[in-house]
Structure formats: structure tokens, C-alpha cells
Symmetry: C2
Amino acid sequence: MKHLRILTYVAEVARHGAIRRAAERLNITPSALTRQIQDIEYELGTPIFERVAQGMRLNAAGELLVRHIRDQRADLDRVRSQIADLSGVRRGHVALACSQAFVNHVVPDEVEAYRAQFPQVTFTVQVRDHVQAVAALAQFEADLALVLQPPPSADMQVLFSCRQTLCALVRAGHPLAAEAGPVRLRDCLAHPMALPDRSLAIRHHLDDALARRGTPLTPVIESSSLEFLRNLVLREDAVSLQVPSGIPDDPRLRFRPIDARDLAPMTLILGQLRGRTLPVATAKFADRFASSLHQRYGLEAA
Amino acid sequence: MKHLRILTYVAEVARHGAIRRAAERLNITPSALTRQIQDIEYELGTPIFERVAQGMRLNAAGELLVRHIRDQRADLDRVRSQIADLSGVRRGHVALACSQAFVNHVVPDEVEAYRAQFPQVTFTVQVRDHVQAVAALAQFEADLALVLQPPPSADMQVLFSCRQTLCALVRAGHPLAAEAGPVRLRDCLAHPMALPDRSLAIRHHLDDALARRGTPLTPVIESSSLEFLRNLVLREDAVSLQVPSGIPDDPRLRFRPIDARDLAPMTLILGQLRGRTLPVATAKFADRFASSLHQRYGLEAA
DNA sequence: CACCCTGTTGCCCGACCGGCAACGGGGCAG
DNA sequence: CTGCCCCGTTGCCGGTCGGGCAACAGGGTG
């Protein structure tokens, strides 16, 4: 929308901390940009940026204004979506931040199903760890977040949650694949472990449990990529630890849940920014997503 | 603020229901205005006005947009006020809608006290009846409302409330002024009555009470102006009914509370629009006003 | 049918926005 | 200390967009 142009300028300068860099991204010259900023500061009767040698830094007034700008854009999006909705065409955009574990089938399946019905709705899916995902919500970079074990945050409003039991993941033919049903953690640790690294919630969960019991952990392979770990498990008799919803349907892979005595289940959460009214399309998608997760993984936890 | 220009156009056309009238108020020509409206409709991909022979009527999409515009302007006001606040100068504006009863000393005293401390804060005080005052809040035409017995409304959030006992108002020398303390309603009705008309909450309250008891009421004088009624009472031995907070400090006037057996006290309410975050200056004024009312008239009612 | 009101359109001008080039100033390496 | 680089800023100029004027299309009304 045209009238947001100037506000966009402010937001962009704030984001980059420098007029020249912001001007480049906005495809205008620094001179034009500096003048617009000055205009706004004049209208407000106070500077909103602190001029430092390295560029521009928001001051307190600027922080307030930028927050207003973000709110205002989000609200306009919501209104546009509502308007599109009542004209019959379901347009809109959904920005989702999710953990790596869900890029296999959980999110793609859901997006596919939704787009089959409303092809006018577009999506962006960003893979973020559980901390960054919550931050993305607060920054309005994402409308929804689907994550494992997010840090408790007042900003996050839970739309759905359930328990996910960690599973030992091995290739077909691995000794652990001989039996079915729960497996004890110590039986896993007897084999070489290929584990997520500390950027992933799964690893934090495991480390916490082992630290409490004083069991040392010496993974043979560590990676920030679950996909890499799966590919590795296919090639040698290592054991990985993943959540079932993140394991693709591959006949060469086998997985067994870790016995509940050894490892508490993790929490899967679909959430949005607390207090935010989502655009129609986004809200409807969130709704369906929640009930679809409900069907797949059972009741919401308390 | 400059970027709100176009949005103001929409709001003004919506308010007047006609481009030409709106254009006149905006000091531009109808042609310029029609083009701006068309631009917005193009950007939104849908008309926001229904063209009728008599002018322009908002359609559903327009309603949504206009609501957004109102919210957005209110939020900007709040941000500007916050910014002014943190730069040390307490600027801001307070728009108050109040019942006639409070223009004598309640509101002027409070405004004076506040302006003595923060002369940069400006005020508009609109006198509205109890129904219109609540509407003014919802329309963002007022930030605060001070009224008697407002209709219950989900839009209204109570900041302070207390009870006000209706009083018989007479001039000094009137037979009723001979005694002090509560007076029975039937003793008043024995004299010619000079009453507020049905545009005022006091009259509704009285009518309700009398209707329940089947007592007929034949006022000699009716007026929508409390001030007129007081001036009349000064000139002849009539009895008026007013709330004590609306009676000026005039040695020629006497008033005695109506006995509680005859007439329940009325409710005085200071309120704002539910869910709205008021600008700093306004919020602070509301705060002081509430505690000042508290000191004058006692505890909040439940 | 004429008249009045409505919104709308073609044409034109002026103001505003953005581009270009140059300037003042702070941080940093030689 | 000096030259260099990057920072924001300013004077000047051109294109674009907003607004004014006058005329047009259409519905309601006497």
C-alpha cells in the first residue's frame, strides 16, 4: 500500500542500521532516504535515530515508532485478508517457522492439502531452531511456529500441543531392529551414536536426561542436520535419536520408541504470537493444522 | 502525519457519505478525491464504496477498512503521546465526553488541576447524554466518558464508579429548605416540579421509579438544560431534581437528598472504550480523575 | 421534460520525491 | 599526523503524481 512507503523506509533503516544500506535495498538513493527520515523526525518533533559514526541507531522514540509500524502493517495485512475473504476468493499468505523435524512430511502434507483447496494462498516456510522460531513470531517474521520444546515465553500462545516420544533410528538389519516395541536407552548407547548437535532441541532434551543420571555421552557423529544423520544411519550401523513425526517413510529405516523410564516425551507445539489477530487465511490454516495434528498425534496435552 | 492523508480521505467520504461534501471539508476538489478513492480500491482489488444515487455508501470491505483506519490513527496518537512523554515534555490531548451534570465544577476543576501541572496537554470536552457518550467512545470521538447511569455496554470499560443520590433542589427560603436531611419524594411532588426532560438520565431514573409505584408525574417545567432549571428554581418556588455533583456552590440554592426509600441512588461512571490503550497523557489524566472522584465521592461501587 | 444532484474523466499545472554530485565529519591504518 | 573510507547530509535538477478546472454520464424529482 502506497501510504506505507515512508514507514517502510523507517523500518528498513532501523533494520540495517544505516541509510546507505537501507537505500540500496529500497532501490532509492541515500539522499532521498535521509530526507524522508528528517521529515518524519520533524513531524514527530524529535529525532528517532541516534546518528553514530557507524550509521543510524534507533533511540527510544524510534523503538516505539518501529513497533507501531510493525503492528500497523500486520493489522493492514489482516484487514486485506478479511476483505479478500469476504469477496469469496481466499487469498492470503502464511509465514511459518518450524523445526527441522517437520519439513519431511508434517508441514509439506499440510501445506499441500490447504493449497489444494485454496490455491490463492501462498506460503513461506522458514526452518528455525526452537529459540529462533519464537523470536521470529515476536519480530512478525512468522505468523505461526511449529516447534519441539520451545522455551517458555509469554509471547507464545499455544494453538496445539502434544507429546512426542523420542525414537531410536537405525537402518533395517541393525541388531536393534530385530525386536519391536520400546527400547531401553542403555541398549542404544551400546552402539555408536549419530546425534543432533546442541542447536537442536532433541539434543538438549537428551543431555538434560543423561546429566541428571550422570551417564556420560560420547556421540560418534554430531550434526545440525537431521537429514544428514538419517543418511548416515543408512550407511552404517549407527543409532540416531529423532522424533517419529520427523522420520520419513523409508523402508530401509526402522525406529523404536525409547522406553518412557529413560526419557520423557518431548512437547510439540504449534503457536502464534500472543494477542495477535491473524489474517483470515492464516487463522484458517492454523485451525486446520491444529486439528490435523490432533488426528495424527492425539489429544492436546494439558 | 502525511502518510495518513489518503486514509483520512476514505474516512471523510465514509463519514459524509458523499465525495463532494467530503471534498469540501478536506479543501480539495471532488475530482482529486474520487481518484484517490479509485486508487485505493484498485490497490485492494475490490470496491470499498457502493455507488448509490445519493452518494457513496460503505460496503462490507469498506467497513473493515474504516475500522482499521480508526484503530490505526488512535494507535499513532498513542505512540506520539508516548514519544512526547519520554522526551520529558508532557504533551497530549484528552477528549472527554460528559453529562451536563459535570460541567459545573467536577470537570473544570479537574482539567484546571491537570493543566496547572501539564500545560502542554490540551482538552476537548463534549457534553453528551449517557447514550451518546458511550457512542462517542466507540467512534473514537472521545477518549473518556463521565456519565450518569450509562446503558450497559460491552464497549465500555469502567475506570471508576460511585453512587450519587438525587437531591431536591430549591431556592433558599423555599418551604423544603426549612429542614435539613433526607426529604421524602411525596413532599417534593406537593410543589411545582421543574424537571430534566427525557434526554437526561436523571429523568429516566425518576420515571422508572415512579412508574413502578404508579405515581403520576406532572412536571410544570421540563428542560434539557440543568442550568436553565437551576435558574428557574432561583426565580420561583419550584423544586428540581439534580445530582449533588452537578449543583454549583451558590448560597441562594439549597438541596436535600431524596430519601433512599423513594429513589435508589444513581450510578456515576468514568469509563473508556474497552480494550483500547489510551495515550500516555490521557491515561494519566484518567488515573488522576478516578482518584480525585474517589476522594470526593467515596469508594467505587462493586 | 428539465433540473439538480451525484460520481467521473480529460487536460493541465505545480509541488513533491528521487537522482546526481559534492561536502563535512568520524574511525582507522599507515 | 595524514590519507582513505564510509557515514549522513545538502544544493540543484528532472520526472511523476496529486490536485484544480471544466465538461460529461446517470439517477432522482418536480
